[in-house]
Every structure is written in structure tokens, then in C-alpha cells.
């Protein structure tokens, strides 16, 4: 059994074992290009701003990353985030900050449970299922909006501080994000639940053979994803400061792209949240660049679609070669 490894294979293997290195290089290259095109743009303030906007994206992308470990996706995440933000902002003037936030998380959990039920027990493809629950959620939000037109909306000071504030130049959102990222990394690497996510995505049959009842994992996963989306909504409304019915919608597409760029396989079984974080930064910098180039919205979408398809095809090639 002689193993002849081509250069392409070797590069592929290296990339798979160290996905962060090329990603960080790509990020630096993008920043360099930006600085060359617009000298002076890259300064402390810009870095802070980039991180500030990358954080909600990275958090929403956590929903996609975790579900993608199992070979799934959560297209309802942006709707869930919007619902939580909107319900919270409209309930806070009525029932106060903490009860408002808690009440707002209820729909997030419910939609997550419904997704988990559909995917884990009915066997619906996650993409279809989460698209459907997203649609239902949007309907509920519109109905809800009519009932609260009179009460007005308030984004609590604390969320604004978290979303927009800075301390010594660093965005306050890091107070939330650093523990969050550590928790996600801990879950994926050091808990049984995290291992089972990868296991289901890698080979669901083998996981069942080892005694895993997959529906339990799916139910827990999609509920967790709903919760994360909800927290993201709270943070994002603190950043934008104006709740609306399509608040988090613009993050939907980039959140999928961030996970894919970060090296998480859309087929499941591979990836890491650390890659997703870099992916979110790359997309935020790319966004600045596209704005500078005055790229229209249409062009952006085409670019995102092309990136997702190209990277998926390339990852498939790399993993097929062994």
C-alpha cells in the first residue's frame, strides 16, 4: 500500500487540520487591501467598529454552525432574533426590563422546540422546517405588532450600553461575547452533547448504532439554537436601537456564509466555532469593502451565493480525496 500524496492533497489536508491559518491570512489580506485603497481607514476606531458589528453576526452564525455540525441549518434564526428584540422592546415599557426580556425569550424557545420536533421526530429536512417556522414566526410578529402599536417601544439602557458602548476603545459587547464564545467552544469540544452533534453529522447510522437517540439531540440542538438567536436579537437591538419587523433579516444570509467560510461543513461532522468567528470578521471587513466599492445589494447576494457554493464544492473535493 504505497500512498502517493499529491501536492493538492497535502495542501487540502493542511487546510483541514489548520483551517484557522488561511482564514486569518485572508482576513489580513482583506484589511491590507482596504488600507491600500483608502489609506488611513484602518485605525483603532475602525477596528472597534468592525468587531462591534461582527459580534452579532458571529452569534447568529453560532446557530448555523451548531446545526451544521449535524448536517442541518437554522433559517429561522434571524426571525427568532427579530421577534425577541421586538417583543422585548415593546414589553419593557409595560412590564419592566427583566420580565420583558424573559417574556421575549419564550417565543425563541417555542420555535426552537418546534424546529427540533420537525427535524428530529418527523424527519423534515432542517432547511424546509426552519424556513416554515420562520414564516409562521413572521406572521405572529405581524399580528403581535398590531396589538402593541399604542404602547411604543423602549430599548433598555443596559442593552444600548452593551450594543454600542465602548470601554477603553474596546466594544462592551465583548463582555457578552467572550464568555459566549468560550461556552460554545466548550460545548463543541468538551461535552457529550457537542460530540454527539459531530457524530450525527458524520454518520447518523453509526451514532444510532452506538445507542444515540438522535431525536433527543435534535430537540436540544434546535432549542439551543433558538435561545442563541434570541440573545443575538437582544444584543443587536441594543446596537441598532430601533426595533423593526425586519431587524435581524440582513444578518440571515451572512450568518450562513460566515459558518461556511469558517470551514464548517454544511454536510456535517466537521468544523469549529473559532473558524466561524473569523468568518464573521472576514464578512464584516468584506462588507466595508463592498460599501466602499459601492457594490449594490444584488451584487452582494450573488457574491455570497457564489462563496457558499464554491467553498462547499472545494471542501467536498478536499474531503473526497482521501
Amino acid at each position: 500500500m504505497t500512498t502517493t500524496v499529491s501536492t493538492g492533497q497535502r495542501i487540502g489536508r493542511f487546510l483541514r487540520d489548520n483551517p484557522l491559518i488561511p482564514l486569518i491570512l485572508l482576513l489580513l489580506v482583506l484589511v491590507a487591501i482596504l488600507e491600500i485603497r483608502q489609506p488611513g481607514i484602518v485605525n483603532e476606531r475602525w477596528v472597534g467598529n468592525t468587531i462591534k458589528f461582527a459580534i452579532p453576526l458571529a452569534m447568529l452564525a453560532a446557530c448555523q454552525t451548531l446545526t451544521m455540525y449535524t448536517g442541518g441549518i437554522d433559517l429561522s434564526a434571524s426571525v427568532v432574533a427579530t421577534i425577541v428584540a421586538f417583543v422585548m422592546a415593546t414589553q419593557v415599557p409595560v412590564i419592566g426590563v427583566v420580565p420583558g426580556i424573559l417574556l421575549a425569550m419564550v417565543p425563541a424557545v417555542l420555535i426552537g422546540l418546534l424546529n427540533g420536533f420537525g427535524v428530529g421526530i418527523c424527519g423534515v429536512h432542517p432547511l424546509i422546517m426552519t424556513l416554515g417556522t420562520g414564516l409562521i414566526g413572521t406572521g405572529f410578529l405581524q399580528v403581535y405588532q398590531r396589538t402593541v402599536i399604542a404602547s411604543g417601544s423602549v430599548v433598555p439602557e443596559s442593552l444600548q450600553w452593551l450594543g454600542t458602548g465602548r470601554t477603553f476603545g474596546a466594544p462592551n459587547a465583548l463582555v457578552l461575547f467572550i464568555p459566549f464564545a468560550i461556552a460554545i467552544l466548550f460545548i463543541q469540544n468538551r461535552t457529550g452533547f457537542g460530540r454527539l452533534l459531530y457524530a450525527l453529522g458524520s454518520n447518523e447510522k453509526a451514532a444510532r448504532l452506538s445507542g444515540v437517540r438522535s431525536w433527543q439531540v435534535y430537540l436540544a440542538l434546535y432549542t439551543l439554537s433558538g435561545l442563541i438567536a434570541g440573545v443575538t436579537g437582544l444584543l443587536y437591538v441594543g446596537l441598532i436601537k430601533a426595533p423593526s419587523l425586519s431587524l435581524v433579516e440582513p444578518l440571515m444570509l451572512p450568518s450562513v456564509a460566515a459558518a461556511v467560510i469558517g470551514g464548517t461543513s454544511i454536510f456535517g461532522g466537521r468544523g469549529s466555532y473559532s473558524g466561524t468567528i473569523i468568518g464573521a470578521l472576514i464578512l464584516t471587513v468584506l462588507g466595508t469593502m463592498l460599501t466602499l466599492l459601492q457594490m449594490p445589494e444584488g451584487g452582494r447576494r450573488i457574491l455570497f451565493g457564489a462563496i457558499i457554493l464554491a467553498l462547499t464544492a472545494i471542501y467536498l473535493r478536499i474531503t473526497d480525496q482521501d
Partner: protein, 323 residues
Amino acid sequence: MMRLVQRNGWVAGLLVLLIILLIATKIIQPDFGASGVESLGRASVPFAFATAAMAIVVIAGGIDLSIAAMMAVCSVTAARLMVGAGDGETVLIVILVLALGALMGAINGAMVVLTRVPDIVVTLAMLFVWEGTALLILNTPSGAATQWLRDLILGSLSIPGLPERATFIPKSLVFVVICLIPFWFIMHRTKLGLSIYAVGGDPVAAFRSGVPIGRTRIIAYSLAGVLAGLGGLSLTMSTGIGEPIPGPYLLASVSAVVLGGVALSGGKGGIIGPIVAVFILRLVRMDLTLMSVDPNVTTIVEGTIMVVVVMLGGMLAMKGRRP
């Protein structure tokens, strides 16, 4: 005869359901008549094309999430080109738009076959690409539609000697039926159609029977593309403008396909069942509106019906997979 009933039992059941719903509508709204049927027909046209497109791809063992986005591309292209276009030019534009649909479908299919990435991922990415393309063609809803084209689906069929309101057949329905006949013929009366069923039902056996798998799948996606072209045209025809943001046709078409008796695992079902399912789903929405339910609540009910249908479909598919 028995077999005809047996094999089309599902479609027959759907038709009965549709008739019951029509009667129920008449009870809810005694005024329900020609104009009601007309508006039902007109509202159903883009859904019918989207669903037929989805049905063909699903029968071929795939799924195309980008149908609504392709419809948007075709709609804005048509609306933009038809600004100030003469009657004769319009014919050319229609042909061009349908060719554009076929091209987009072929690209989707080729991507699926060449990259070997699963259909659902490829078409998700292509959904974004086509959405972007539509936005590049028209940034905001605008454009125009030639009048004779619009007249094809507006109003009811007039029979000479009778006032228009006395006939119950909306032109939109006739339009849909005429447009779908070639596709029905291809699917059920040609070897290409058989190949599409074979590829979706059992690719290994199809390969052994000498069916070219890759080519058949690309053709299936192209057919769906042409139907998306028709859907896009019908959008422009009914509104008179081009709309770059895709409508809610993705989930609607998937659920109509499932309700219409097409198995998501491929190879089973037809086009007629899903089309009847489209009318049922549209009628439910209309009934809710007639009962003066808040339109947003209607959206919720509709969405719930669709999700439940898809969940039941998923459960049935799982059961079918077990030996």
C-alpha cells in the same frame, strides 16, 4: 377504470376536497361567484407554476430552492423589457424570458451534477445568486407589462352571446392549463418523462437500464426553469410591474407538492395533484379572508398548514424508507 381510480385516488381525493371547500366558500359568502373564482384563479397562477416546477425537480429526485428567485429574475426581466414594447416585440420578450428560465434551470442542474454537492445546498446558494441577479436588473418594483399579455389572465372567458359574468371559467385557469399541457405530456407521455421518474425513483436501476443520469437531471432542472419563467411572466402579467423580491413561493410550492402526492424522496407522483393542492391552499386562504380573519393571522394559519403538511410528508417518507 378501477385502476384509474386506484392510481389517481390521491388526486381524486384532493378534487373532492376542493369541491367541498368551494361549497363551503359559497356558504360562508353567498355572493361567491364568477368574480370570486376569477380572483382565486388569478392569485393561484404564480403558485401553480412554481409548484409544477418544484414537482418536476422533486420527481427527478432533487429539490430546487431557487425557483422563487428565478421567477423574480424572469419577472423583472420581462417588466423591464416590456416598457414601451409593441405587441410583436412582446412575443419575442416572452420567448426570451422563457429561454432565460431554461438557462437558469440548466445552470442549477449543471451545478448539482458537476459539483456533486447535494441539490438542497446548491440551490440554496443559487437562490442567493438569482435573488441578487433580480435586484441588479431592477432595484425596486417597476416596469410594465404589455396589455394583451395581461388580458390573457384578467377576467373570465367570454362565450359569444353571453355576458362575461355569466361564465365561470376564469381566463387565468385556462392560461395555466394550456401552459402546463406540454409539461404534462413530457412527464407522462415521453421517454424523457419516464427517464425523469426513473432517475428520481431508483438511480441505480435507471443507470442499468441505460438512462443517462446526469443529462436527465439537468433537463429536469431546465424544465423547472422554463416553468419558473412562466411563473415570473405571470407575476408581471397580473401586477403589471416587475417585483425583484421573491414571493413566498418556496415553502408554498414544497407543501403543495407534498400535499399533491409527490414523495420528497423522488420518483413518485405527478403534476396534476400538486396543482389541485395549490388551489386548495389558495382557497383556504381566501376563505379565511372572507371570514374577515386578520390577513396576518391568515399567514400564520397558512404557514402552519404548510409546515404540518411537510411534517406529515416527512413522517410518511421515513416510514416508506423502512423495510
